[in-house]
């Protein structure tokens, strides 16, 4: 089992290279990573055409570029955050598009650690689980999947300590300290583990600085060059959306928030839960408490005939409460989709079919992106909405942005995070959003 040649976390490449050439390879990698969010399929087609051996040299050059970038990231925390996130996205895409089952197994072992990965048969025999009925059922389901054509899928066992998200959400089958499941269900955890390994690698690379003067100089030059780079600089801070002023761009809001904000615009009144839902959301996409106080004062009909000071004294309490400035002083987050489904407002669940049809056909999103979705697709979404609202939301995302997210949309901020990447709103504080990329037909 060997790692695929595009995989960057493997034995250091041959460093017998001219410094200037090496720097060019690093800049080439930056360009690749930058282009990825706007058009991933094209980037993969252009940069990673096949996995033939003849391309080994090209891939080695990619790894060399990535290697130098890691050295640069070791000197600048903000650059490190950008690099980890971007490499994580590239890894996810390549893993999905360019990896054979054997290579996937090798990646699992490299990313989670050799001691934390076991093959299904190995687990069954070493843990004396040959009579386990649930395990047998899992295996039968896997075989049935193979017969249906899921030939690239396989069962694998990961130690529970490596996949805390899956333990928290009780995903997979936990037995004797190992989570047994099919490869597909580990993908989210695999990406996180890859990013963690990359971070460890960057920290380890710090030791290589100060050894060769010419490398140090190249690293310093690149660091200065990249620190001036608008896209990277603006995404330096973290992957948190807070503080990024995304609230000025409703064209990247998820449908639930679009619906609620439109309702507020037209009726000037919202139910308590909708107010909370929108309030939490606006806070997390960068609206300050003062801006939000202003927002509600201007939008809501309840505030007619009262002064701003009076508003601050009465309704202001609720808004400051959202920010953890009053009452229990808790810093609230936006509820996830499953919570929204039961306690807040999700158009896919709470609108009647006719209203949902109308809303999905035309709203701020469709107008802002000049998208016309075929009535048949909308009909299908309406039909499926009550059964699986998150899938419908994900499909709707793909119709709006012409891009299918790797994973289901399960949180309003996930929609914002992906859509902002696609249309290129990184430094929204001083930059207008780019035109969305023209993509494949719907």
């Amino acid at each position: 089992m060997s790692l695929p040649n595009w995989f960057i976390l493997q034995s250091p490449p041959n460093l017998n290279i001219e410094i200037r050439e090496w720097k060019q390879l690093a800049l080439h990698r930056v360009k690749l990573l930058e282009n990825l969010p706007s058009n991933p399929s094209q980037v993969i087609r252009d940069y990673f055409p096949t996995h033939e051996d003849s391309l080994d040299e090209t891939y080695e050059q990619y790894r060399l570029g990535a290697y130098l970038l890691r050295l640069v990231a070791a000197t600048n925390r903000s650059l490190e955050a950008w690099l980890i996130e971007s490499e994580g996205d590239l890894f996810e895409r390549l893993y999905f598009d360019r990896t054979t089952p054997d290579q996937k197994r090798a990646i699992f072992r490299r990313v989670f650690g050799e001691q934390n990965v076991m093959e299904y048969e190995e687990f069954k025999n070493s843990k004396d689980e040959s009579k386990n009925v649930i395990l047998a059922k899992l295996y039968n389901d896997y075989i049935a999947g193979l017969r249906r054509g899921a030939s690239r899928d396989f069962l694998i066992c990961i130690h529970f300590s490596q996949v805390p998200w899956m333990i928290s959400n009780r995903k997979g089958y936990l037995r004797k300290g190992w989570v047994v499941s099919n490869e597909n269900s580990f993908r989210g955890s695999l990406k996180k583990a890859f990013e963690k390994s990359l971070q460890v690698e960057i920290e380890r690379n710090q030791n290589l600085l100060g050894v060769r003067e010419e490398i140090d100089e190249a690293v310093q030059e690149l660091e200065q060059q990249l620190a001036k780079h608008t896209q990277i600089r603006s995404r330096f801070s973290s992957d948190d959306l807070e503080g990024s002023l995304l609230h000025n761009h409703p064209e990247i809001f998820p449908p639930c928030m679009i619906y609620i904000s439109t309702e507020l615009e037209s009726t000037r009144r919202l139910t308590h839960t909708k107010r909370l839902q929108l309030g939490f959301f606006l806070k997390r996409v960068g609206m300050s408490v003062d801006e939000q106080l202003n927002y509600w004062f201007e939008k809501s009909i309840d505030n007619v005939n009262i002064s701003y000071n009076e508003f601050l004294r009465t309704s202001g309490y609720q808004i400051r409460h959202l920010y953890g400035l009053e009452g229990g002083k808790k810093d609230y987050n936006v509820p996830k989709c499953s919570t929204i489904a039961t306690s807040y407002f999700c158009p896919f669940i709470h609108l009647d079919p006719e209203s949902l049809h109308e809303f999905l056909t035309e709203n701020h999103l469709t107008k802002a992106h000049s998208v016309e979705i075929s009535p048949t697709l909308i009909d299908r979404l309406v039909e499926e909405s009550s059964k699986d609202p998150t899938s419908c939301c994900t499909k709707y995302f793909s119709y709006i942005y012409n891009r299918t997210p790797y994973r289901k949309i399960v949180h309003p901020l996930q929609w914002v995070r992906i859509s902002s990447k696609i249309i290129g709103i990184y430094n929204v504080g001083n930059q207008e959003p780019k035109e969305e990329t023209k993509g494949e037909t719907q």
């Binding site: 649930i134 529970f160 805390p164």
Partner: protein
């Protein structure tokens, strides 16, 4: 009770009955030097960031200073001292610990027995603790593959479960939190806490929880309790007579009969809410927390935080535990 008489009783215990070697069942002596300890003095002043060269130095300290409470914490890369407190040191590990305390059950205890207030407890409400131990212990062993689990009486109203496996020692807060999430069946502490959807629980785990909860619920059950959970009079009588026929034994047929009948009522969540484990999450997640030193004295009750064997757990009665203060005559 005067400080002086307490001091004599505590010194007497640590000098004559306390066996420091027994501690090795819970904490690894190889890392003893860099482990944090904390103490509350007789006048209730609290000290932490203390370490000892070896176990006998700790023993001497306990005899000499007679602390009201003794606590043990995590292992660091250097011995914690006042000059180098724990926040300046690198954290190396802490055993995975679960704290189950009757305080957490105060909102639901009134459905189970008539005890009131913090100082009252009885065999029936202690059943809640036994039930929690059964579910957590079995889940840690079967689902998480942990083998060395020691249950220790806290000295007052609860127990501490120490997982002494090396695999538990290095777990991060996130990993500990995930174990708590897995074990959590109810969300919230209040009486109306939300019960996890039945379908979202793994099959093995759900059956384990149901079996233990229903068995505890049906033990010494009265007909009116069954009527209260929505069973019809005839079904309630059937179950009561079935239990009587089996001389009070709650086995698979009784469990199945009850489960089928319960499915017809909407009281499933209600029963679970009253009986399922309520773990103090903070204790498990906080990797720098100080916990009562096993085998030490609970200063308030005078009872010893002793290690419980599997057999003892089933029949344990905290009220019958001797107190070192029992012979003190003022």
């Amino acid at each position: 009770m005067s400080h002086n008489s307490k001091e004599i009783a505590i010194r007497d215990y640590y000098a004559t009955s306390f066996d420091i070697k027994g501690l090795e069942r819970v904490i690894d002596f190889k890392t003893f030097r860099s482990r944090e300890f904390g103490f509350a003095s007789l006048d209730n002043k609290f000290f932490r960031n203390i370490s000892f060269e070896n176990p006998s130095a700790l023993n001497d300290f306990l005899v000499d200073r007679t602390p009201l409470h003794a606590y043990v914490g995590a292992v660091y890369d250097n011995p914690p001292t006042r000059q180098s407190p724990i926040h300046t040191l690198g954290w190396l590990g802490h055993e995975l610990v679960f704290d189950i305390d009757l305080n957490e059950y105060d909102v639901v205890r009134n459905y189970i027995c008539t005890c009131q207030g913090a100082d009252q407890l009885c065999n029936r409400c202690w059943q809640l603790i036994t039930l929690a131990i059964n579910i957590i212990d079995e889940t840690l062993r079967l689902d998480f593959g942990m083998e060395d689990i020691v249950w220790i009486f806290s000295g007052r109203r609860g127990v501490h479960g120490w997982v002494t496996d090396s695999s538990g020692f290095n777990l991060t807060q996130e990993q500990r939190m995930s174990i708590i999430d897995y074990l959590t069946v109810i969300h919230g502490e209040e009486e109306t806490a939300r019960v996890e959807n039945r379908k979202s629980l793994p099959e093995d785990f759900r059956k384990r929880v149901e079996y233990n909860v229903f068995r505890a619920f049906l033990t010494d059950i009265k007909r009116k309790d069954l009527l209260n959970v929505g069973l019809t009079p005839s079904r309630a009588s059937n179950i009561i007579s079935l239990i009587k026929r089996q001389e009070g034994k709650i086995d698979e047929p009784v469990f199945r009969e009850f489960n089928i009948n319960l499915a017809r009522t909407n009281k499933y969540d209600e029963i679970l809410r009253r009986w399922v484990p309520r773990i103090d999450h903070k204790v498990t997640i906080d990797t720098r927390r100080l916990l009562r030193l096993p085998l030490s004295i609970h200063g308030k009750t005078g009872r010893i935080a002793r290690i419980l064997s599997t057999q003892e757990i089933l029949n344990f009665n905290p009220e019958k535990e001797p107190s070192i203060y029992r012979n003190i005559v003022e």
